[in-house]
């Protein structure tokens, strides 16, 4: 067991235990912090697999932007008191059983697969930003542009949904909006 394998098992342990912490912690703020820990562990896996650009993007986008948004919403709603009503024991039991059954089915399907491929740990150029940028702006330039339209529509949609419905436009609609 060399250095890379020790790092692999350590990062896997951190990722799985943080994932379990997200599911089982009572306080939503603790769940967010566990999820940030899981993102850092997954970024460590990316670095082990020579995907440095994705590791940096994962930290910036997920741990930096998305999780801050989650924390912001949780603190805006003052949800950090654990006043969440729990599901009944039967539903929790059924959830754990069905998740475990899915896990076993996937494990049994993968276990006998003929692929015993393994990759070497030689540093490769495929994960570097030069190679990724060339691929992104030649082969995948159309999905890139479409994703910008997706972002624009998501921005407009979030603003339209999050806006308070207090402005009534015309007096005819005022009776409808004035709930």
């Amino acid at each position: 067991m060399d250095f890379f394998e020790i790092l692999f098992w350590l990062l896997s342990f951190i990722a799985i235990s943080c994932a379990l912490g997200v599911v089982f912690s009572r306080n939503p703020v603790n769940s967010v912090l566990f999820l940030i820990g899981m993102f850092f562990a997954i970024s460590g896996h990316y670095i082990l697999m020579n995907a440095q650009f994705l590791a940096v993007v994962n930290i910036i986008v997920y741990a930096g932007a998305i999780m801050v948004l989650f924390l912001f919403v949780i603190m805006l709603m003052n949800l950090n008191a654990d006043a969440e009503p729990q599901k009944s024991k039967l539903v929790q039991f059924a959830a754990v059983i069905s998740g475990g059954i899915l896990f076993l089915v996937l494990l049994a399907a993968i276990k006998d697969s003929p692929t015993t491929a393994s990759f070497d740990r030689q540093p490769s150029a495929s994960g570097l930003i030069e190679n990724l940028g060339t691929t992104l702006f030649t082969r995948y330039v159309l999905p890139f542009e479409i994703s910008s339209i997706l972002f624009l529509s998501a921005m407009i949609g979030a603003m339209v949904i999050g806006k308070k419905e207090t402005i009534s436009v015309t007096p005819q609609e005022e009776s409808k909006d004035n709930r």
Partner: protein, 99 residues
């Protein structure tokens, strides 16, 4: 490093995400579990990218991150609006959408 290790790790993270989605009633935690499942898929895509020395699947990971960011923005706006209406993030209140 055998590719099977990464497959098993991704399956484990994905199943934990599914378990959390089915088990919790807080809408925000359900969202976080969905993010966890997306990350499991991302990890598997990067592992196969490393196996085949191909940059395309890393581009797919990039697009998954883009779509996840857009989804979180809209979804959290919906959750904030729901909280403003009913003062709760319990998803069982959304049962009334059936009627």
């Amino acid at each position: 490093m055998p590719i099977q290790y990464y497959i098993f790790l991704s399956i484990t993270l994905f199943c934990i995400g599914i378990m959390g989605t089915l088990m919790r009633r807080n809408a925000i935690i359900i969202f976080m579990c969905i993010e966890m499942m997306l990350n499991a898929v991302n990890l598997l895509l990067v592992a196969f990218s490393k196996l085949f020395e191909d940059a395309s699947s890393q581009i797919f990971v990039f697009f998954i991150m883009v779509v996840a960011a857009a989804e979180v923005a809209v979804g959290l706006a919906i959750i904030v609006m729901m909280y403003r209406k009913v003062h709760s993030v319990d998803i069982n209140i959304l049962n009334r959408l059936k009627h």
